[in-house]
């Protein structure tokens, strides 16, 4: 469970170009469910995801995560408050808790599929061979095993998307955060993506997707749609 309490995110505070991207967001996201955040462009979806996903700190308000344990961070009643943690600790939590899938795939060109997939595990200190085995297993599941040593720039859009999903799963996170994951996919690939999401959810992962793609928002597999406008949750 993730609870977001009265979170504000202000860019360029105190300057002429001050911008309030999140304005008192109040939201509970249930564990093990698929939640979609929907809203027009500029409404703050990406900002909210980055704040929830420990990528950025809110200007004020609190975010509490349950089921997280990181050395040196106190938790009360099973919750960890991430709001005032320094980046160093936020990153540790993020690595364990969330896998990220981006609109742009964001694979590192020039590296092979397997290297890209293993990248998030490098700073965890896990043994190389263990990570490699897990990566190969995951690539098999996603039908990418034959492309193991291909450079990522030669992959098709759908393959790239699946590589980025495997990369998000490599540290075995309990949650997946996806920002506009289907923006570059056609309808068929988009619904395939939703099938993958469903299977990940069935493994017990909490999934949060920001999207205004009807294939996602109207999909039967999702549990809840949250609507945003001008930095506020309206429904």
């Amino acid at each position: 469970m993730i609870s977001v309490v009265d979170v504000r995110k202000v860019f360029n505070a105190g300057k002429a170009n001050e911008y309030i991207a999140l304005d008192g967001v109040q939201l509970d996201i249930e564990k093990g469910r698929i939640t979609v955040i929907k809203g027009p462009s500029g409404s703050g979806k990406t900002t909210l995801l980055s704040v929830i996903g420990c990528m950025a700190r809110p200007s004020s308000g609190r975010i509490r995560l349950s089921g997280v344990s990181v050395e040196g961070i106190p938790d009360d009643e099973g919750y960890v408050e991430t709001t005032s943690l320094p980046e160093r600790f936020l990153t540790q939590i993020r690595r364990k808790t969330f896998g990220f899938i981006f609109q742009q795939y964001n694979l590192v060109a020039g590296m092979t599929v397997i290297e890209n997939v293993m990248l998030p595990a490098y700073p965890t200190g896990e043994a190389y061979s263990a990570v490699r085995n897990r990566a190969e297993d995951l690539l098999k599941i996603f039908g990418l095993y034959s492309r193991l040593d291909a450079k990522v720039q030669w992959l098709s859009g759908g393959e790239s998307q699946r590589v980025s999903i495997v990369r998000a799963l490599i540290n075995n996170p309990s949650g997946i955060i996806a920002d506009e994951p289907t923006a570059h996919l056609d309808t068929k690939l988009s619904s395939e993506f939703m099938n993958i999401i469903e299977s990940l959810n069935r493994e017990g992962r909490t999934i949060i997707i920001a999207s205004h793609d009807p294939v996602v928002c109207e999909s039967s597999v999702i549990h809840r749609v949250v609507e945003m406008r001008d930095g506020k949750v309206i429904r």
Partner: protein, 378 residues
């Protein structure tokens, strides 16, 4: 603990693959770095080796050399000074020495004529390698020298000097006392200077003072003094060369700083991705650290190895033009290879340290990009 090593291993792994992915860009940097190290290392190796040679030669020079000065100019010293000095307490022996410079107009070269300790064999000489080379005369050949009166003194070469240190012996001619006096027109009771051997090195200074007191027209020169002069001369020379080379180092540092701060869009995106997928700022800093270490250490090593070959195997061909100015008889150096940790440490300080310092801030700057930035770049 173990996992911390594993983290660094993984990051180093990534660093290497990232360096390989940008081969050309990094190769340019490394080549420039290597050239800078090569230059400085050549200067340091060369001056140190030459200094060692000179010191080695001076090591067997006499404790005190006594010269006579008249009107501030070096003059021949009378033989009867020998007796007085020998009688001084603490003096083991005093020898009169003959040596002088001879100008050979045909080759426009200067030779150093020396009478060996055993007095030499009349009519025959031993020539240094440089002499033999310039005059195209070897074993058994005839070498005529013109005396101060303009008469020819015909000498035959009975051997060519073989010496480790060509720097000093190259222009040498060992000649008999008689021939020497004939060429320079030196009276029987005069020597070029005197060499004094002292029993206890600690008394050298006292004895020198005593000589100066007894013969106010002499100038005693201590070996330690000469050594010291040589030492500081060579230190100055290499220091000066280094300061001249400092311009190159500075240019390189600016170049490296520029490189490190002006990341390409590609590299920026890559670091953005790393941060977004869970690399922490200090992981990226570690990546940048390894990158700098690999680049600087490999360039450093390459530069040093190249300099070693340049100075000790190829005998510093790049310095030849500079050194040729020193003497017409340019000796073909056979420098004894010599490198100590001190020289390496100095080189490290002069090259790797400023490079590292110049890249600290740029690499930190590239490491602190917002992790969520990548989600917005379209």
């Amino acid at each position: 603990m173990n996992s911390r090593i594993e983290i660094q291993r993984n990051i180093l792994d990534f660093t290497l693959s990232s360096l390989l992915r940008r081969k050309t860009k990094n190769a340019v940097l490394m080549v420039v770095f290597t050239i800078v190290v090569f230059m400085l290392a050549s200067i340091i190796f060369f001056t140190n080796a030459v200094k060692r040679e000179a010191v080695a030669v001076l090591q067997n020079s006499p404790d005190i050399v006594v010269q006579r000065l008249s009107a501030g100019r070096h003059d021949l010293i009378p033989a009867d000074y020998i007796k007085t000095i020998t009688d001084m307490k603490g003096v083991v022996s005093v020898k009169g020495r003959h040596w002088g410079y001879y100008f050979e107009p045909a080759a426009s070269a200067n030779f150093t004529l020396v009478v060996p300790d055993d007095g030499g064999e009349e009519g025959r000489i031993v020539a240094g390698k440089g002499v033999s080379r310039t005059m195209r005369a070897g074993d058994g050949d005839i070498l005529p020298l013109k005396s101060y009166k303009g008469e020819w003194v015909v000498l035959s070469i009975k051997g060519v000097l073989k010496s480790d240190s060509e720097l000093v012996s190259s222009d040498l001619i060992e000649i008999s006392e008689k021939d020497f006096r004939k060429i320079f027109g030196i009276p029987k009771d005069r020597f070029t200077d005197l060499s004094v051997t002292v029993r206890n090195p600690k008394e050298t200074l006292t004895i020198a003072k005593k000589i100066k007191d007894s013969f106010p027209d002499t100038r005693p020169i201590l070996r330690s003094e000469v050594l010291r002069t040589y030492d500081s001369l060579f230190n100055w020379r290499s220091g000066l060369l280094l300061i001249i080379a400092a311009g190159a180092v500075l240019a390189f540092i600016i170049f490296a700083f520029d490189r490190a701060s002006g990341l390409s869009a590609e590299e920026r995106r890559e670091i953005g991705i790393l941060k977004a997928i869970g690399w922490e700022t200090s992981d990226v800093i570690a990546f940048k650290f390894w990158e700098g270490l690999v680049i600087s250490l490999s360039s450093f090593m390459a530069g040093i190895i190249l300099a070693y070959f340049h100075v000790f195997v190829a005998y510093a061909p790049l310095f030849e033009p500079v050194l040729k100015g020193w003497a017409v008889l340019y000796p073909e150096f056979r420098l004894v290879p010599f490198i100590d940790p001190f020289q390496i440490a100095t080189l490290f300080f002069l090259t790797v340290l400023p490079y590292t310092a110049a890249t600290i801030i740029p690499s930190w700057r590239s490491a602190v990009v917002d992790p969520d930035q990548i989600m917005r770049s379209q």
